[in-house]
């Protein structure tokens, strides 16, 4: 197994495309203004904003935010790689999160995950993190507790929440993607 020279960017696909609009600048300035004591505190809100706007956080985002907050790039990259919510590559149009915390794991999350993976025709690259289909339509990853242990296993499709997702239901969820 080859290990890349720079840890923390294994999943990075390169700079994000898209324009930084005046509206985006204004929105980020507003976020920074909420932290008058230390603008460093605005780094998480800005990361969220960037990801919502550009789909993922690549080197362009890290460097833009670092500059905005007078931080060093490494200080932003540390956070991007620490939080699983932040991603360094674009996810599919339909992003699935399968809970794997204990109740869901006991409830068959593994089977659900395997079914989804097969339906989406996804191959694992050996790294932690999401798998994305070649056509960019689907992506899939495990997540930690989604706070509905009584209805395990549970799945999050984009922002929609689904309970008791067995293999049959998983299939419905995939075919139901429009």
């Amino acid at each position: 197994m080859s290990i890349p020279l720079h840890a923390g960017t294994e999943n990075c696909v390169g700079p994000e495309k898209g324009e930084i609009t005046p509206a985006f600048e204004k929105q980020s300035d507003e976020l920074v203004s909420r932290y008058p004591v230390s603008k460093r505190s605005a780094v998480l809100p800005l990361l969220h904003l960037w990801q919502e706007t550009f789909g993922y956080i690549g080197p362009r985002g890290v460097e833009w935010i670092a500059k905005k907050l007078s931080l060093q790039e490494i200080q932003v990259l540390e956070l991007v790689t620490f939080y699983p919510w932040f991603r360094q590559k674009p996810y599919g149009k339909f992003h699935f999160r399968v809970c794997r915390t204990l109740p869901c794991a006991l409830g068959g999350a593994g089977k659900t995950f395997a079914a989804l993976q097969k339906l989406m025709n996804l191959k694992s690259d050996g790294h932690e993190g999401a798998m994305v289909s070649e056509d960019g339509r689907f992506s899939l990853e495990y997540s930690e507790c989604l706070a509905s242990c009584g209805t395990a296993p549970v799945v999050l499709r984009n922002d929609e929440f689904y309970e008791k997702v067995d293999e049959k239901r998983a299939s419905d969820l995939v075919t139901g993607c429009r």
């Binding site: 197994m1 290990i3 890349p4 020279l5 720079h6 840890a7 923390g8 960017t9 080197p59 060093q72 790039e73 490494i74 200080q75 990259l77 540390e78 790689t81 620490f82 699983p84 932690e128």
Partner: protein, 562 residues
């Protein structure tokens, strides 16, 4: 100044009572428990804590058992049978680095609980460690190794797979990183951020995948980067220059000085069998704290340069031939006797020690030679340790009156041309051609004697070349730019027939003037201390390993400016 300095108490006289392993004692208020234990001759092991860096408390190795005075219903401390306050011990251990002492605090550094904690922390730290000690450069000075012996179990219970991480990562020009050995103490990150203000290192990923890295595309190569290899408690950061060169336990350690600039950072020379393998900073709060610059640290390879002068050289028929010391001294004496004292000029060198300069001073006084100066060597000052003076002993030459800061030197070119100067003695490997004197001018001299370490344009023209010793090869003292007198000690012998300059000058003096009062470098010191007011009453023992301030910093700066 360093805002941390956890090992320095704010006020040594503001004491509070603490109990360390059952013994009541008084310690300065505000010190943390690791430092208090240290002062109490106890040792609390630690990895991430460093007295000169901020406290992060992430390694958990310094766990200790803490107690506070037991209070009675009257809110007064309950006294035991011995009249001392009784201590209520907390059930959970605390970290020593982030706990400052308070009045009446109880500290246990060797209880069963503490031992158990250390054992557990060691086990966790070793879980993903590659245990490649046989090929690791840190072996022998590795805290993981040492504490494993002291506090570990000796056997592993871990049967799962270890986490793979990047190895042989090229962090910068002088540093290599092995992430699998890293225990994530963050000392290197804090050094870069707090001392160097050069944030390129950080931890990425999370949990057992946490990895030390430089930001992609950035390299960790600031002028002080090698200090991180010193403070790295394990073999994660290693010096490209030193790695795989020598096992550290073979190194002879000699307390000396860095001679690469006027700061005179205190160093330890690591040598073996006549070869210097590394320089490491030696703590001296008055000079360099625990740091030194990469330039000074690596500036010793010239000791083995192929340009090194190994034997005396004598010019004959336009060429230089190796000769004996007796011939070289005789030729110099004959040449100097042929000219009048006022026709002799001497380039003393601020690279020489005070002792060497003093023998020179005696010789010049006995001969009646007045034309003496040094070559200034302006260096690249930074706002940390590196001085703008590239010579290690400029203050020393000024102290002995052997330097006019190069002002006299300016006119020597024309004086050689006009025949006023007929003989020139250049010491300390100064290269006059490099500092602007044309070779054609030097060629006009009846006699050119050059002593030095390496061949240069000036030594090539000399009638007599006297091979000298480098900083690691001699014992003596120097005065740094801040007016601090410090000692250096010989670590290795000079190569071939090269000799310490003071012995060369002693022999010259004996042959020229018959003066034979110096039999050892200590003799030189005694005479010097008797003659030079700033040194009166001082001896080597008083100077000690850390030196002694002989002028105020302002005074030294004033002389320099004036």
């Amino acid at each position: 100044m360093n805002p941390w300095n956890h090992d320095v108490a704010k006020d040594e006289k503001d004491l509070v009572d603490v109990q360390v392993d059952g013994v009541w004692m008084q310690m300065p208020r505000g010190l943390n428990v690791v430092e208090v234990a240290h002062r109490a001759q106890k040792f609390i092991p630690h990895y991430c804590y460093h007295p000169k860096l901020s406290v992060v408390g992430n390694c958990r190795m310094c766990l200790f058992e803490m107690g506070t005075p037991k209070m009675g219903p009257d809110r007064k401390p309950v006294l035991g049978a011995d009249g001392k306050p009784e201590i209520a011990w907390m059930p959970r251990p605390q970290i020593g680095c982030a706990t400052n002492i308070t009045p009446g605090m109880g500290i246990r550094t060797d209880s069963a609980l503490v031992k158990d904690c250390r054992n557990g922390v060691m086990e966790f730290l070793l879980i993903n460690h590659p245990l490649d000690c046989p090929i690791c450069d840190q072996a022998g000075e590795c805290k993981l190794q040492e504490y494993s012996v002291e506090y570990g179990t000796g056997a592993s219970r871990f049967v799962e797979n270890k986490v793979k991480k990047p190895k042989n990562v090229d962090l910068g020009e002088r540093i290599v990183l092995d992430d699998e050995r890293c225990i994530l103490c963050s000392r290197c990150i804090r050094f870069s951020s707090e001392v160097m203000k050069d944030d390129v290192l950080g931890f990425v990923n999370r949990g057992s995948h946490s990895t030390l890295t430089a930001y992609p595309g950035k390299s960790f190569d600031n002028a002080y980067s090698l200090n991180t290899a010193d403070i790295c408690p394990v073999g994660a950061l290693t010096s490209k220059d030193f790695r795989f060169q020598m096992r550290v336990w073979f190194l002879k350690e000699t307390k000396s000085l860095c001679a690469s600039c006027g700061t005179g950072c205190n160093v330890t020379i690591g040598s073996r069998e006549g070869k210097v393998h590394r320089l490491t900073p030696r703590e001296n709060e008055a000079v360099n704290s625990q740091w030194m610059c990469d330039f000074g640290r690596l500036n010793f390879h010239y000791l083995e340069s192929k340009d090194r002068l190994h034997r005396p050289l004598l010019r004959a028929a336009g060429e230089q031939f190796p000769g004996t010391w007796a011939d070289a001294i005789q030729r110099s004496v004959d040449g100097l006797k042929k000219v009048k004292p006022e026709e002799i000029a001497v380039v003393a060198s601020s690279r020489l020690t005070l002792e060497e300069l003093f023998v020179l001073k005696r010789l010049l006084a006995e001969l009646g030679v007045n034309r003496v100066d040094t070559v200034p060597n302006p260096g690249q000052a930074d706002n940390f340790l590196r001085s703008g003076d590239g010579n290690p002993n400029s203050r020393g030459t000024e102290l002995l009156g052997l330097s006019s800061g190069g002002r006299k030197l300016g006119s020597w070119g024309t004086e050689i041309e006009s025949g006023k100067i007929k003989a020139l003695f250049v010491l300390g490997g100064e290269d006059l051609i490099a500092s602007g004197l044309p070779a054609s001018t030097l060629a006009k001299l009846d006699l050119l004697i050059a002593s030095g370490i390496l061949t240069n344009e000036t030594t090539r023209l000399a009638h007599v070349v006297l091979p000298g010793a480098a900083f690691a090869e001699k014992t003596g003292s120097m005065v740094n730019v801040h007016g601090r007198l410090q000692r250096m000690t010989r670590a290795i012998a000079a190569p071939g027939e090269a000799r310490e300059e003071w012995t060369i000058l002693r022999d010259l003096r004996m042959a020229l003037t018959g003066g034979n009062s110096f039999h050892s470098v200590e003799d030189v010191w005694k005479s010097m201390a008797a003659e030079v007011s700033q040194l009166s009453g001082l001896n080597w023992a008083r100077i000690g390993d850390l030196g002694i301030q002989i002028e105020s910093v302002a005074q030294a700066a004033g002389v320099k400016a004036g």
